[in-house]
Amino acid sequence: MAAKHAELAEKFIADEPRTDWHDETLWFVRSKRDKAAHGLPEWEQLREWGSQIKNHTLSNLSNYLKEFEENAIANGIKIHWAADGDEHNKIIHDIIRKHNIKKIVKSKSMLTEECHLNEYLQHNGIEVVDTDLGERIVQFRKEPPSHIVLPAIHLKKEDVSATFHEHLQTEKGNNDPQYLTEAARQHLRNKFVESDLAITGVNFAIAETGGFVVCTNEGNADMGAHTAPVHIACMGFEKLIPKAEHLSVFLRLLARSATGQPITTYSSHFHRPRPGQEMHIVIVDNGRSRQLGREDFRNSLKCIRCAACFNTCPVYRRSGGHSYHTAVAGPIGSILNPNLDMKANADLPFASTLCGSCSNVCPVKINIHEQLWKWRQVISEEGYAATSKKVAMEGMSFVLSNPKLYRFAGKMGRGVMKLFPFMVNNKLNVWFKQREMPEPPKESFRDWYLKNGKFKK
């Protein structure tokens, strides 16, 4: 069986200083988000608008998709529909074969990660160059991105320096981010200029105008899309919004929530191919229509991929993106991935404290922590919960529904922790791993309340 979150997280936190750095760095990004959000008195209203526009769109999605396709075709864009990741990859492969394309540059698209496009093409002897700096770094290292906005956030500059020394012949031991970024700029400029095909993601697709918007800070999506003779933009169908004026709401929310910037450097609106260029859009389902039908989970499709929920999550910050073993990690990934493969991702909704911080920062008001809790129930009902969890849950349920037994167990627990601490402070207790056990209280809350509560005369 593939490794699960707890096991993978254990590997990540083995390096304590690095875990602390990861934790603090992401918290710093979260703080920048707070500052940006507090700069707008209407922030909560904006979130509400974002949420309502997405709710509306999902409720009229089939019509908006038809409208989008019609308008995009009228704009001279070719539209493809893919039921799943495999169809998505084949459509792109067909375009590559038709044009005898050799050189491909790709800007960040979490959908292509979800569909494992790079691996698919590589398997067919075709190389794709990722052009987002963070993605290029992890691609050189043959690792997946660990964060949807900051793909190389699990790495230190020394790691990047060693990787670039190996692949780009940069000076050994030169860890200066400015120097390393410049090396990537020169390396990737050549790749852009030579490219036959640019693949990009889509941040927003506009039904009314049949166009789409791609946001980057680096300018890599534009460098590829305006250079290559063929441009393929890949989107999950939930990227749709009704009108161009709604972009104002989402562009105001996106970068502020993601990194605390007022807007990304580039917000590029594509509506027609340039003369002589071919432009394609691949619209992908891959389980999304199923998720749309699950009432409890449908509004996970409102996500605009800002990763605010990652940066605030106490579990993500201390376990790293790779421990989620899926393309989209973090709290939002943990409610999207059980829909893709419930068995393989049954561990993810349990990798949370249910503290609710994710829902509080979500720019489109997805009730992430409630969905995590609901997925736990679905997963347990379907029989996919880990046996240890199941036994523990059943035991808990038995004890918690018997007040006398509960009081007895509490007393025993406090006694044991006080008199025989080694009984809990040992390797058999998973809660003792990487943690200090708390001091046992002298008495239970019930005993304290009986002594000091309102019944006391």
Partner: protein
């Protein structure tokens, strides 16, 4: 049935009852006393340089000097001098040497420092992205408070391409250290004409 029909049918079956669209009320949105001051503050906070000018004379001189220096400079603004219309057909490998581009923007946005540029103002879509240094010119009266106001003015789908550009290209992908000049312009100067 085709993939399209399957997907659309599944969506139609699974989507909830129609939920109304919210009305976006501009009265509940932030406004700034001095739009130019806010625009400059935000844009300089994200790495751009902003200067208020009373006329184009100074810029015309700068462009002339740039052209005479022999480096590859593109002018896309009629009011500054001859427009380099020939770049419309230049390839990426030819434009790769582009040192500086002068481009006019339609509007500026005070809340985030972004400038909207239509494709026709770029001459070639690649110009504002591939140049080493970007010079943008907007009129002071065309600075609006927020993106809501901006989308009331611009027509996103009017031309084949258009973009909001807010400052120079940047990345923080290495240890969250901000580096200016990732793939696009290394510097962005925005001249606001009074």
């Amino acid at each position: 049935m085709s993939a399209k029909e399957n997907i659309l049918n599944a969506i139609a079956q699974n989507q909830p009852e129609l939920i109304p669209l919210p009305a976006i009320d501009l009265d509940s949105v932030i406004d700034y006393e001095d739009l130019y001051a806010q625009f400059k503050l935000v844009l300089e906070g994200i790495g751009g340089k902003v200067e208020l000018i009373s006329g184009l004379a100074e810029l015309q001189e700068e462009l002339k000097a740039d052209k005479e220096s022999g480096s590859f400079v593109v002018n896309a603004i009629g009011a500054l001098g001859d427009v380099d219309n020939h770049v419309v057909s230049l390839s990426a490998s030819e434009l790769e040497k582009l040192e500086k581009a002068y481009v006019e923007g339609t509007i500026g946005v005070a809340e985030n420092g972004a400038v909207w540029i239509y494709e026709s103002q770029m001459i070639n879509r690649l110009v504002p992205f591939i140049c080493q240094h970007l010079v943008l010119v907007i009129e002071k009266k065309n600075i609006v408070p927020t993106l809501h106001h901006a989308y009331e003015i611009i027509e996103a789908g009017r031309e084949g391409f258009g973009a909001f550009i807010a400052g120079p290209s940047k990345t923080a992908d290495i240890e969250q250290s901000l580096v200016i000049g990732a793939h696009g312009a290394r510097s962005a100067r925005i001249y606001v004409v009074e």
